[in-house]
């Protein structure tokens, strides 16, 4: 293991143009992510916390190239991946994966679980036979705590927590090294939230995964993360270890987030 971080982000900017009029002229821009830099070490979890509109989701999307960054650099194991063409980026799709917030909309309602999870295998392991794929999907389901008999069911037959498990199985199918967890527990009951957080931690231990864990709830982020980034209005206002954030918050905004966590 070298000292090169798995992910390194330098001066990342994502601006969205505001257009107006018939000719769609650019009349302004929204600075969703405004000059953000951070690193993620292999096997670690970096938490990214902030309110809706803070730009935290945009960072996640930019990392997996669902959004083109306006400026800045993203390095994967020291290699710059910011300006690769779609084709050049393809190998990285196998290494970088994402888990979404909304378990109800993140699975195609017309496909069976076997098809949803198997799609990744179809793309990245084209030589697998149908049977091999099926058994691999069954293994993945077992890994996330589902049963092989769930293979031929449709998403609507599952609860929110189970769907999130299916989403995790899909992300794991390509054997990624890095997973962007985009508010994976925000839409779930607290009790289910605990199960999913535990599952993510177990998988990290077993497979040596690296996470960027995005959430608005500092309590969850503090629990799962080694290092925490606090984001407000497109900028990172505080970056420190999880303990440091809790014991010695520096920024007012961090204090506000801490204060908002319910005390029991």
């Amino acid at each position: 293991m070298t000292d090169t971080p798995l992910i390194k982000v330098e001066h990342l900017k994502v601006y969205f143009p505001i257009t107006s009029g018939v000719l769609q002229r650019k009349s302004g821009e929204v600075r969703a992510v405004d000059d953000v830099s951070f690193e993620i070490l292999r096997g670690k979890t970096v938490g990214l916390v902030g309110e809706s509109g803070s730009g935290k989701t945009t960072i996640g999307r930019a990392l997996i190239r669902l959004i083109e960054p306006t400026d800045g650099h993203i390095f994967y194991k020291g290699e710059e991946i910011t300006r690769l063409s779609a084709k050049e980026f393809r190998p990285y799709r196998k290494k970088i994966q994402i888990i979404f917030q909304d378990p109800y909309n993140s699975l195609n309602p017309r496909l069976t679980i076997a098809d949803i999870v198997g799609e990744a295998l179809e793309i990245h392991f084209p030589r697998m036979t149908r049977l091999q794929r099926r058994s691999r999907v069954a293994d993945l389901l077992a890994k996330v705590g589902l049963k092989p008999e769930h293979l031929d069911r449709y998403p609507h037959e599952f609860s929110g927590g189970q769907r999130q498990r299916i989403g995790i199985a899909r992300a794991l199918a390509v054997e990624p090294e890095f997973i962007v967890c985009d508010e994976p527990v925000s839409a779930l009951d607290v009790s289910v939230q605990a199960q999913i957080v535990n599952l993510l931690q177990d998988l990290q231990e077993e497979l040596g995964l690296t996470y960027l864990f995005i959430a608005h709830d500092l309590a969850v982020v503090e629990h799962i993360s080694d290092f925490v980034l606090v984001m407000n209005r497109g900028k990172i206002v505080e970056a420190a270890t999880a303990e440091e954030i809790y014991t010695h918050p520096q920024d007012d905004y961090t204090r506000k987030l801490l204060d908002a966590v319910p005390k029991l």
């Binding site: 909309n105 993140s106 699975l107 195609n108 990744a120 990245h124 390509v174």
Partner: protein
Amino acid sequence: MTSNLFRQILQRPTGVLCAALLAVLYLIAIFAAVISPYAPSDQNLAKTYHPPTGLVWHDGRLCVRVYKLVDPTEALYRAEPDRLAPVHFWAKSAPYKLWGFIPMEHRLFGVDSAERIYLLGSDSTGRDVFSRLLYGSQVSLSIGLIGIFITTVIGVTVGGLSGYFGGPLDNVTMRLTELLMAVPDLYLIIALRAALSAYFDSGQIFLLIVGILSFIGWSGTARVIRGLTLSLRNRPFIHAAEALGQTPFVILWKHLFPNLLGYLIVTSTLSIPGYILGEAALSFLGIGIQEPSTSWGLMLSQAQDMKVFMLNFWWLLTPGLAIFVTVILFNALGDVLRDIVDPKLKTQV
């Protein structure tokens, strides 16, 4: 999804009834040549405006009455009391080709060639209305299916691509659809029809009409599909497929299309009547199907003649009844389909 839809239709009485009746209509259209006793252009100038022939049971077999022309000026026929012509089943007839390539010499039923069987009377040149109705159904029933197929293919392709890729492509295609929607369609049809008809025979004219109707029709479908695609496009499951490195066309085909299918089936079923009525209207105006081919609209246009009303040749209006029934069946089936698909449509689109 499709087999599931079919099963759900079967669970609803209206659905079963409409689907079954439509299936019968289409079977009749497919086998029109065998079922009808005469070719559509088979004239008999001695028996114009002949009323429907009576059927009687005589000596253990089915017979038709034979009529005598009493007054040629009013086309008044009277049945002759003693003369009957036996109906033959699988009767020998003039050779013809089923579907244009299977040589046949028999029809389902017929009478000896000296007499005629007119189940629904005859028209101004003594052609059998029943036979023409069956042959005409081939045009009238297929025009909707072909038209819908073309508009759906173009509409889904254009709407899906522009909704998915957005940007300049979207801009161009949407302006194009707006342009097409602004074209006054009736004038366009009349103009195109007039300009091109000299170069085509009647079969090609049929295709021309379908082409014109669907050329104008796809823009509406394209716009709706674009809207649905736009809303589906931002659903996380599409992002998930992109994050896996799936290619845009597979995403369109595998993730978007199945989610549009429910909507497409319903709207297609509900817009088929539009094509049937469109053809009928064009043929009625004399700019659609032309003699000697036949279609329901064309047959109706022949019933415009004052004589039909003055002398009560009601059988010439049966194509109107056929159009009416078909349109009602499609609309009712579309309603049933919408009931089945709608709850899902609400939550998923």
